[in-house]
Amino acid sequence: MKLLSRLPAWPSMSIAAILLVSVLVFLYARTQQKDESGYFEDIAVLRHLKQLDAQWELDVLKSKIGLNAHYDPLADSLVELTRLLDGMERDFAAEQHDQAAALVLGNAALRRAIEEKAALIERFKSNNAVLRNSLAFLPTAEQDVRQSLGRIDTHDASAAERTSDNVNKLLLASMLYSQSASDEHATEIQNGLRELDADKPLLRAETRDRLEIFAAHVRTVLREQRGVNELLGRVAAVPTAARVDEIHNILSTEQQRVADLSRQYRGYLLVFSAMLLGLFLYAAVRLVRSHAVINRVNKELHSANETLEQRVEERTRELRQAQSDLLATARQAGMAEIATNVLHNVGNVLNSVNVSTGLVSASVRASKIQGLTRAVQMINEHADDLASFITQDAKGKMLPGYLTQLSQVLVAEQQGIIGELTAMTRSVDHIKEIIATQQAYAGTASLMEPARIEELVEDALRMNAGALARHQVVVEKEFAPVPVLPLDKGRILQILMNLIGNAKQAMEVVSDRAHRLTLSVGMVQDHTLRVAVADTGEGIPAENLARVFAHGFTTKKDGHGFGLHSAVVAAREMGGALTVHSDGPGTGAVFILELPAGPTGKNEETA
């Protein structure tokens, strides 16, 4: 019962199952959501960026001290940096980031820093190129000046000497200044330049020009070295690395958060899984228990079923017994009915036998045989004078006449008695016939023997003859030619007796019209024998038409409800049918017995 009551819960159970699975999938997805490779890629890019940035700065320094012959590495670094920045920007835009805005800002800041650095480096390149060129040229220029000083005799030897010294010092100071740009060297250089200028007017034009070139380059070194150093400081101050670290931090925090979240969801997933497992175990326990219940119920049902079968069998047997009992009863009832009729008829005939016996005994008792005895006595008294007595005596003279009369009377008497005895004999024969008929039908179950249906109908009528006569029933017979058929005479007679008896009773209560019983016999389509018993009795109400054949149904005061039922059962046993038709109360009824005539019916029609 538990299982049955749970059946309608299936939809809700499946919904619950779907929900649970959804939660599971959701939790699982949450633990898997963030692909860490993206993070590590970004970190790798950031490292690369940082490294490139450092390399860039290193290249700048290399260029500064002349280790790099040209600036191509600087340009290459910027190209690579820009490429990485663009790639990272695309990544940030494409990937799912909690702090996308911060990342984009960080990226933009880094880009600005790199652009700033690039601009500074660009200027550095210009200044450094000039600085390096001048530095490289300074020794040559110095040599040129000294050559000029030495080759041509000056008109002021001391000025030439001082100039040569100064040039020398300036060259040294410039070189030192290019190594470490200290203010001390700068002042030294400026002092040297002033001294050069002071001596310049004392020198020759050619020397002056060369000195001019030298001084210009020294000034250039002074100027550009300052610029380059300043630029280098600014380049180093550009916070590219810091910007990279900022982005790194944002990414790390984000990753940390994601990892935390993932861990959290993993925890949820674990708890949820444990819950599911519990549920599963619970369900399993329930299932096992249900299974036990089912088994038990099944067993009970099985045994109940067996008992039921047994009981049904018993009941069936009882019913069968009851039915056969009933049939026997009906049969006996039918036979009793026949017997009643037989006895009734026998009684009628016995009446006439009684009458005849009475008459015979009365006529014998009043016989004139006494007169003969007295006449014989008178003759014996007058044996010796018989002749005289007859001729003379008065009495004797009357004797012959008396004897003649007496013989006449006795003959008449004898005639009467013989007549009565003949009637009695006939009555006794009649009784014998009636009994023989009854014996012919009683006790012979289902005996098919060739018979004429008309004879059976006549027999039935004869058995009911007395009763029919008593109720002034006019019997009409409408017999069509019917062949000899194999018939169960006992059953048919029982049915006909029943039907005729019913008809007779149905007409008893009718007094306003003639009592007519019509018996018709005929063939329907050569294979069905049809016997109809129609009466002009009280008829059958429509509501009873279907019930008249039911067992126990009767409208008679002393009826038992077996008659028509056993009749219809008998008809069915013979493979036929018994039907009834009535137009309603007061219109009489027709009972129709139809029996299979068999395929041989046609052949025997001529017989």
């Binding site: 012959a69 040209h70 600036y71 191509d72 600087l74 340009a75 910027l78 190209v79 652009e115 690039a118 601009a119 660009e122 200027r123 390149k125 210009s126 190129a129 000039v130 390096r132 060129n133 001048s134 490289a136 040229f137 220029a141 070139i213 210009a216 380059h217 250039t220």
Partner: protein
């Protein structure tokens, strides 16, 4: 490339405006492209132009790759001068220049001497508007330099010799002998690539 600070450091609307303002460019673009001067068309034109610039395998390239006989002794001497005089301080790298900006007139005021200053003389300043960028120009690559006369932004140098002369005076602040200059010009001629050898 046009906007790249390493190269031009310019802006597109500025470029389009300038190209459109030049009647010669305008008619040329109108002839070559249906919709005249646009960013896409300028890019296309530049790309077409630059394809002609990819001229590898100059004699100097071959020399650098180890073919000692690719350039003559005189040209080798010119290369030595090129390095010795400090030209290589700016005209450097794979493209012999083109990887930096430099002030025109480091060692002397070129524009004052030339006179008649124009807006174009301001150079990179026109783009960046930074005072320090006045008279600063991109150092051009010297590849194919023998084929690209006249020289400088104002086309003031008609020959390579003139250009080398100006460079010596205003950029290097030095005097060089005529022979040395000729040697350098000879070297510059080795930078002419195989024009037809397009990839």
């Amino acid at each position: 490339v046009v906007r790249n600070p390493v190269e031009m450091g310019s802006k597109w609307d500025e470029i389009i405006r300038r190209v459109s303002n030049d009647p010669k460019y305008k008619t040329a673009f109108a002839a070559a492209y249906k919709d005249g001067v646009t960013q896409a068309n300028i890019q296309s034109a530049l790309a077409t132009y630059e394809r002609t610039l990819i001229t590898p395998n100059s004699r100097f390239d071959k020399y650098l790759r180890g073919d000692a006989n690719a350039i003559t002794a005189a040209e080798k001497a010119g290369y030595a001068k090129f390095k010795q005089y400090g030209c290589v301080a700016c005209h450097q790298g794979v493209n012999v220049g083109g990887n930096m900006f430099q002030k025109f007139g480091v060692m002397g005021n070129y524009f004052e001497k030339r006179g008649n200053p124009t807006e174009a003389d301001l150079g990179r300043y026109l783009v960046t508007r930074v005072e320090a960028d006045k008279h600063v120009f991109k150092v051009p690559s010297l590849r194919n330099v023998a084929l690209t006369a006249p020289y400088f932004h104002d086309a003031s140098a008609k020959t390579l010799e003139d250009a080398v002369d100006v460079m010596f005076r205003y950029q290097l602040g030095r005097v060089a002998s005529k022979e040395d200059k000729e040697a350098i010009v000879r070297f510059l001629n080795t930078l002419t690539g195989e024009l037809d050898a397009k990839p």
